[in-house]
Amino acid sequence: MGIYSCIGKNLAEVRESLYKGVSGIVFDQERKDMGFRSGLTGMVDKPVLKGMLDRRMRIGLAEQGEYAYLSTLEALSNAGIDEDFLEKNEVGLLFGNDSSSLAVINAVDMLREKKDTTLLGSGSVFQSMNSTVTMNLATIFKLKGVNFTISGACASGSHSIGMGYFLIKHGLQEAIVCGGAQEINPYSMGSFDALGTFSVNEKEPKKASRPFDKNRDGLIPSGGSATVIIESYDHAVRRGAPILGEIIGYGFSSNGGHISQPNVDGPSRSIQMSLKDAGIAPGEVDYINAHATSTPVGDMYEARALDQVFGASRPLISSTKGMTGHECWMAGASEIVYSMLMMQNSFVAPNINFEAPDEDSARLNIAAETIEENIDVFLSNSFGFGGTNSSLIVKKIR
């Protein structure tokens, strides 16, 4: 695994932040000056890749590609996969990404100003496409397996792992680098801010993201990248890989309803499909990493869906978006990393800012503080615009 997020630039930093309930949310004046309703955002530092990558490798990378390069570097290193291995074996690449706004805007602005495309430079097109992350990483790491980007809004990162799991399970590939990456620049978030769904609790940025809390007033955009390398069990054992966990179930669905408002049925079906795929009953799930983004309506529907499926067993639930904000295309993958860190270190990270429940979240067993707890099985949900739902179940390896 590898991570580059607003709560840590690597797994060790993130583990500590999760345990301590640290928020990565800040107030960004630039957004207000641009005309945003909300100046809140998760914040990650711009990577400095000069010296790590040569110019040709760097020039096609968009902002989120730079994050993805770093999280993938960490993951490959931790997985014990080196250049020689990648040269001799077919390792695939499936990353979640659903925009590359800044590169497109820069190119269009330049074109309008200069009226000459030959002044756009050679990196622009490779930064601008939705598949920018996978096309660049496959080139940088010289990957030879499956290679494409999965766009499923805020479920992109989760679906990328689900699709990887599917390909491996059906014998089409033995090892795949999966993940999700998200740009945080304001240009990528302007039209999202236009919906009026971001929190405006600007006086206390670190208290603004409050999933399931009765006083929540909206989500906070965030970003970075997370990488999760998955392999068939035989392949992992054969090469002596350090096995961290096992994906035992993947479920998905579409709501068939409103483009931005979820319902109960869609998420519930996605969860139940993942449980069926895993061959387990709801009572066997120890912890749920909820999608809950801190929107009044979204969290409500999710709480109802979770209660519908898990009402009897009431497993521990938290949404790490209280700390990270909504990492959008990255979230589905990063939340697997966060949940894995919890499982490896036997704690449930807090759903920070959960101070009072509403009538729906009151029925759930939400961890408002860090809880020391063994986790053998966790479920991670991601739901996106257009009603796309993804659920992944992971089990501890003993």
């Binding site: 110019r55 040709r56 030959t118 002044l119 756009l120 430079g121 050679s122 990196g123």
Partner: protein, 85 residues
């Protein structure tokens, strides 16, 4: 701009922007080989030349530019042409 200024500018952007090793900067150096420039780098050279020297390179101009000396001469000629206008 005089001759030396132009040559220094070219060397500077080759080293800084295109990350060419300083020891490779010799007049007889072949752009494609010793300086390791590929087809995409030529696209970027057009941008860098425009912003440093204020003129547009045509794709076909590169055909006759083989060595670094050819490149210096090309820029010197174009800058002189521009200053005459």
């Amino acid at each position: 701009m005089n001759r030396d200024e132009i040559i220094n500018k070219v060397n500077a952007f080759l080293i800084e922007e295109f990350e060419v090793e300083e020891e490779q900067i010799v007049p007889e150096g072949i752009l494609k080989d010793t300086l390791g420039l590929d087809s995409l780098d030529y696209v970027d050279l057009v941008v860098v030349i425009e912003s440093n020297f204020g003129f547009k390179v045509k794709g076909e101009d590169f055909v006759s530019i083989v060595t670094l000396q050819d490149f210096y001469n090309y820029i010197l000629d174009k800058v002189a042409e521009k200053e005459l206008k």
